[in-house]
Amino acid sequence: MAQGFRVALPGKSGTSTEPRDYSFSSEFTTVKVYSEHFGTIGLSASGTAFATISHNLGYVPMVIPYLELKTNRWFCGPGFVSGTGLSIYGTNTDAYMSNQESSVGTDNFVLGVKNQTAGSISVRYRCYIMGDSGN
């Protein structure tokens, strides 16, 4: 390793070549949380609603969304979203994140959520905008 900075895990050697022995090593890009966003989306019966989260990074970042799709049940998105996004969908949940309505661009992340119930509901979400590229 050229000059750099490493922090070994407890009980591990600072000269180990095993990446899993380090909590940090400047050899490896670390997935960094650029910003966190918490909010609530209100949905009409069987309706769709959106949250637009600005990041203004100028590139498409990784996004990790978590949504409370049923009371006290938080679901994680698949993790790395680029372009038109990925779906979180559960047949027993009150709502789902729609891959058709959600997208990540160079300046914002649009989170589209669809209500699966016949009444109005609110869905809480937390989105992590990562500092690392998603495309």
Partner: protein, 292 residues
Amino acid sequence: MYGLKISNPGVDVGTSDPRTTSMRSDFNMFKIHSDGTAFGTIQAGEQAGTVTFTHNLGYVPAFWTYYIGTDNKQRLLSYLPEGIGGQGEISSYAGTDTIKCVFDFGAAYNQNVYQASDFYNTWAGGSLLFLAGDRSGGKDGAIRFTNLALNKNESVLSAVLDVHVASKGTNTNNLKIITRGIDEDNTADFSSSPMGRSQTAASGTQEQSMTSPTPFNFGINVKSQLEEINSRSGWSSGNAMGFFVINNASPTDCYFSDAYTESPNSFLTVTRQGSATFGFRALIFKDKVSEN
């Protein structure tokens, strides 16, 4: 602003681009709370199983979960609507103390439900009703099922004839019946009377309450009869199987009937042996997802 910044190799540490820094103290990083695997089992007849990872953080944490397939490959969740290979619905979700990972087949595992293909009864002499008991004297019935997914000599966990009672007699004392199998390799349809066909030695004697208002269902255990038939030398999976329900001195005007023309509602439910094991990996972070 004071802090710590480490740039990627070859990159000026003065860069403001987050992509070219391996660490910046003004950017949070996910901190691992725990990383573990756990396995569960779904028994035959059960529909779903849940594996629970306890974190006891008191708040909803960020997490990633993976489904561990029988190929030992890990698939990232939180939701696989068609599971793996089109079987099972797999999902995971977090609460304030646990991560729940669920494998749901959508139907009872290793269980097949067969709708009747043929009825017969000795009261009307025809194939429109499945009937047995005392209706103008003792009457017997027969019922047939096709395309049974059952290997030769296969021992099953259970086999239940689920009788749908669309109508009944006026006598609400107990119906008395004996059930035997049609002892044939691949019993033919009931376009002609099946009542003279051979019967299995295996039988079941039963008294059934008839006090419930119609429609209602009751079950007949036919496991031993089924296993006698599928142990025949000529049995193979996909064959048809039938059963006789024979009056056994039921009280006068005490009988059941299910009408074929009204969409037969009598079924054969066979639960085969076996279980399915499923596994999950949960990577739980100390970082909070929920506001509270």
